[in-house]
């Protein structure tokens, strides 16, 4: 288990991280989310030891992390972290050896990884002569070549086409299934909501939301029940807590507060007339973020918000 505890960091006078806690369980793909400038990259650099935090601790399985432990970690930075003039194979062997593998082991692993990301025939190609998509795959291979226990990826989905996204998702979920500890950052919150099982959401250097994605979405209190039903809306009188979000050409959208069972509302609707379509829309992560950021602005601490969200 990877933990960052109460991390505080400033660049000059600017506070970048203000008491952030992150926990990443092995086997649970975790997203570090937030808008640009939230402090995600700085937090990753601190976790990786590239910079030292002003305050706070980085722990792995409860122990402080040092360079020896980080040899078993893999990191994929946001830019194309590749030497433009080096060929693909040598690049992989170099990073493997930097992480403590022998040349022979590194070469063997490099061949395996190039095979896995579909670049088996590209060993001798300079990385700046590869297409953008190939460079992204090579970069991923670079961070995985030493079979790391902890995998940290900064904005891995930025700029990927849907096919490449799906391939990357498969590669990562394979590692997660094998019990690796995987954390990735993204500013495109909705892009990763179906991939990440748990999230930590940052805003302006503070944690605004954290926990399992399904729980956070289901318990948010901003669920909407969508029902296509003609006729009178008088039956709604039985649910005083439920409000009408919109009612356009027979499609009725109802906002369900925490504590209202959507199935009871649906049953009442079916008794009132013929329901031709229905669905329960959970809030997207960006909707949850906006809501949480708003609470944060009102002066509530992230901890209070956590309780409000999970109190259902």
């Amino acid at each position: 288990m990877l933990e960052a505890r109460d991390i505080r960091h400033r660049f000059d006078e600017r506070v970048v991280l203000d008491g952030v806690d992150v926990t990443v369980q092995p086997g649970v793909l975790t997203g570090l989310l937030g808008p640009n400038g939230a402090g995600k990259t700085t937090l990753m650099r601190l976790i990786l030891g590239v910079i030292e935090p002003d305050e706070g601790q980085i722990l792995f399985d409860g122990e402080p992390v040092g360079p020896a432990e980080r040899l078993r970690w893999g990191y994929m930075p946001q830019e194309r972290g590749l030497y433009p003039a080096m060929n693909a194979g040598d690049q992989l062997v170099y990073f493997a050896r930097l992480h403590g593998l022998t040349r022979a082991e590194g070469t063997r692993r490099a061949h395996e990884l190039l095979e896995e990301v579909g670049l088996a025939d590209r060993w001798d190609d300079r990385s700046d002569r590869l297409s953008g998509g190939m460079q992204q795959r090579l970069q991923l291979a670079t961070s995985l070549v030493h079979d790391p226990d902890v995998i940290i990826l900064d904005e891995p989905f930025a700029g990927l086409d849907p096919v490449a996204m799906a391939e990357l998702a498969t590669t990562l979920t394979d590692r997660v299934a094998a019990g690796r500890t995987v954390v990735l950052s993204s500013h495109q919150l909705d892009l990763v909501q179906d991939l990440c099982e748990a999230i930590v959401m940052l805003d302006r250097g503070r944690t605004v939301l954290s926990g399992p994605v399904s729980e956070l979405r289901a318990s948010s209190g901003t669920r909407q029940l969508r029902i296509t039903l003609p006729g009178d809306r008088g039956w709604l009188a039985a649910f005083p807590a439920v409000t009408i979000a919109s009612d356009l050409s027979e499609e009725l959208r109802l906002a369900l507060p925490v504590g209202v069972d959507p199935l009871e509302v649906l049953d009442a609707a079916r008794r009132a007339g013929e329901v031709s379509d229905f669905g329960l829309d959970l809030p997207t992560l960006s909707e949850l973020f906006l809501l949480a950021a708003e609470h944060d602005d009102l002066g509530e601490t992230p901890r209070d918000l956590d309780r409000a969200v999970t109190a259902t």
Binding site: L48, L71, Y75, P77, A85, L98, G100
Partner: protein, 395 residues
């Protein structure tokens, strides 16, 4: 499984070397350097062998006694004589007239005449006349009854010793010093640019972050400096090895043997200069956000290097012991370029050389510490160009 300090540093240096060996520009520059080194040996020699050669036209084979006299003169005067055997006096005259021969002689003996192309034709006809007279004198002496041993003794009268009273200047060696100045300047510039480009590339691609997760900044810095420095050292060797080899193994080199220690010293000065400048180049390059900004970030240090070079090849070459030259050879930024040029003039006391090296080395250590601090802070601040002030002040 851990990586030792040296293990990690060696990996970084090895990577920089491998990338250099694979790059076309490195191969081209090294090839050019090798050509320069070979040219420095071969071209002066071509001129030397194409030096003074005189041709003497004779009727039939030249008389052995005359040839012996002329050969002795040519050895003493450092020139070569070839002989052109013509059919008769008319052919000798026309050979001289056409210029295929520098002089011609007919009727060896009391009636000897020397043919020249025009009046006052220069040294060679005078030498030939002298040789003819000497030959005649020897014959006359033998005819007057002296024994062959006595004639030989007279001929063996030694020539007066030549005493040099002009200023002692070894122009060849000073020329080597001048060339060393140029090569050192180019070498430091190449190494510095290589280091700066590597640092800026690693920072702009965020490779530096992957590296810094497993390496300490000093490993990355020292490894990069070692790798880039070795690449340029090989290029210097491409110039120095042919020149040094010709000094050691070939006789009659156009480059004076007295310059051999200067060439060894030049390599030492490159290492010192690299130690002084390399970390500054790396520190400044760590401030940029894009590789394209490297040029402007390096401007101040490039100015320093160009200024030192200009002092070395202008002021120092003309007046190696003037106060400007002495000061510039002690001032650390210019010492690596100025001192080798001064030293090659042969007038620098050893204590000045040692002092200059000491000052340079001490400054290099201080600058390396300062620059690694700048590097450590600069390389993690991405998104915009970091000011030097920020990099110096920040924690």
């Amino acid at each position: 499984m851990t990586l030792t300090w040296w293990g990690g540093t060696r990996l970084v240096a090895g990577r920089a070397l491998a990338e250099g060996f694979a790059s076309t520009s490195w191969k081209v520059v090294t090839g050019l350097m090798l050509l320069v080194g070979i040219a420095a040996v071969v071209i002066p020699r071509l001129f030397a062998s194409g030096g003074t050669t005189y041709t003497l036209a004779t009727v039939g084979q030249a008389p052995p006694a005359l040839v012996a006299q002329l050969d002795a003169l040519s050895r003493a005067g450092d020139f070569t004589i070839t002989y052109d055997a013509a059919a008769d006096a008319g052919a000798v005259a026309s050979a001289v007239r056409d210029g295929t021969a520098d002089a011609g002689i007919v009727e060896v003996g009391p009636a000897t005449r020397v043919y020249v192309q025009r009046a006052n034709a220069g040294t060679f006809p005078a030498l030939v006349s002298g040789a003819v007279r000497a030959t005649a004198t020897v014959e006359a002496l033998a005819a007057s009854g002296l024994s062959p041993g006595q004639v030989a003794a007279l001929q063996a009268t030694p020539a007066p010793e030549q005493v040099v009273v002009g200023p002692v200047s070894d122009e060849g060696r000073a020329g080597v010093g001048f060339a060393v100045g140029i090569v050192l300047y180019i070498a430091l510039l190449l190494a510095g640019t290589g280091i700066a480009t590597t640092v800026a590339t690693e920072k702009s691609t965020r490779i530096s972050e992957v590296l810094l997760a497993v390496l300490r900044p000093t490993q990355l810095l020292v490894g990069t400096v070692l790798g880039s420095g070795l690449l340029v050292l090989i290029q210097i060797a491409a110039v120095a090895v042919p020149v040094g080899g010709s000094l050691l193994f070939a006789s009659g080199s156009a480059i004076p043997t007295s310059a051999a220690p200067d060439i060894v010293l030049a390599v030492l000065w490159f290492v010192l200069g690299l130690a002084l400048y390399a970390f500054v180049f790396a520190g400044l390059a760590s401030l940029v956000d894009k590789v394209s900004e490297v040029g402007s970030a390096l401007m101040p240090v490039n100015f320093l290097l160009v200024g030192s070079y200009l002092i070395a090849v202008t002021v120092v070459a003309v007046s190696p012991d003037g106060w400007v030259s002495v000061a510039a050879s002690m001032f650390p930024p210019s010492a690596p370029l100025v001192m080798p040029v001064r030293w090659a003039t042969g007038s620098v006391p050893v204590w000045q050389l040692v002092l200059s090296m000491g000052i340079t080395l001490a400054t290099a250590v201080v600058l390396a510490k300062l620059a690694s601090g700048i590097y450590r802070r600069g390389v993690v601040r991405t998104g915009q160009r970091v000011s030097l002030g920020t990099a110096l002040r920040a924690r």
